[in-house]
Amino acid sequence: MKKKSLLSSKIFMLLLMIFFYLPIIYTIIFSFNGSKSLTHWSGFSLQWYERMFSNSSMTEAIWYTITIAILATIISTIVGTITAIGLSKCGKVLRTAVERVNDLPILNPEIVTAIGLLMFFSALGLKKGYLTMLLAHIMFCIPYVMLSITPKLRSLDPNLADAALDLGATPWQALIKVIVPQIMPGIVSGALIAFTMSFDDFVISYFVTGNGVNNISILVYTMSKRVNPSINALSTVIIIMITAVLLIINIIPIIKERKTKK
């Protein structure tokens, strides 16, 4: 009985992974395409990579995208966590109001948020560029973080925090050492989602940026007018970078284990 269910879950996960990675593999393959086409193969070539690396706007865009995504993720995760915890202690009316307001950036079509922010920044006379893009990203990331953390907070056992206080912990210690570790899966998934939303954002970024600050999505979108597999080359490079990070994350614990064994 157990063996059977283990097999079916393995098959399920395998199929799921194939589903997830099919387009990724397709992208990688087509980044080596000899012709301009994004859909018809005509031989192996590295021309798109050459083009990509010699194109400074692409490398700049990668830099901007990564830095803004990391910054936005860090800031929104910290602020989101603090606020979610604080909010759980507030009255129901306030909490519901904030949650509804938080829903707005998620449910609104991005063009609406984008136009709203565009007009808002213009009204304030803010010069558009890196800062406005960062602010906008933080703005729409925090709701995602809070959305991930709040369910975890609700299923927390309140007695644990109280017990900590009884045993002499300060509120800060209770927060850091009891509450946060318990909601950690929510924080992590919130951070992951925030990173994704920021990394991939196009519409909002497009309208609030300026000064030549482009992110990868903007480049991809405006360059796909005339069929450009450099985009696939760009994506493949990102895939490689991410895979490298994943490998590092997995190798470090192994190295640590070996060291402690010695």
């Binding site: 990724i24 307001v101 829903d103 449910l107 318990q182 989602i193 991809v220 985009i231």
Partner: protein, 280 residues
Amino acid sequence: MKQFKTMAYPYIAWIAVMIVAPMLLIFMYAFTVKGNSVTTFRFTLENFINFFSDAVFLDVLKRSLIIAIVTTIICIIIGYPAAYIIANAPGRKNVMLILLITMPTWINMLVRTYAWVGILQDDGIINSLLQMIGLGKIKLLHTSFAVILGMVYNFVPFMILQIHSSLAKMDKSLLEAASDLGANRVQAFLRVTLPLSLPGVISGITLVFLPAVSSFFIPKLLGGGQYVLIGNVIENQFLTAGNWNFGSAISLIMAVIILISMYITKKVDKGEDAKGGFAK
């Protein structure tokens, strides 16, 4: 513990500025109409009346809602088992799986969607394979199937993440207690695991349904230009028609509908009102 509530105040100030203020601008656009050339506003419900009196728009809205609901349901059907399997996987494998699931979402959505176009089109991979086996071509691209496939592909990782974070670190002793009390595995699942994971499912639904209703790029590319969803209409009004007033009005209508449906969904999760958990 009560002093924690002041931690929320800075953010509340932030959203008043960053979310509410821009939304007020949109609100203002929705209830006004542009004058002839200079922006002289007059308050009116014209935009809303225009929308509701046109059967085509209502039809588009209905279709968008249906697609979003179907997408959400499929995401739950795929996402829950996946989250369950991952949550029960040992330590490092758990982390690896989560990262594997999330990684595709970091590749630009445009790029991934174009890849699906290539895979699904009439002479794409799938049809080529079918032809090799001797079966005929199927029209896969520019169908509802393609749109839902694309949307599910885009959103299911979020559903998995949300459900997973609910299932992870679930108190295993509760399950042990259940089996001690005579429950079999199915009963234990239905009466212990499922209810405890419900908050995760609800937030997963929020994360999928909301953006799904307003998405425009995936329907455009995978459904073809003739696949018009409410997101496409809004985008068109803002960018091509230049009619921000009408576009804003449609978004408000959509927002209200979504908020109402979320409210109904949350009623299902009775845990909102019940005392218990950290949030009192």
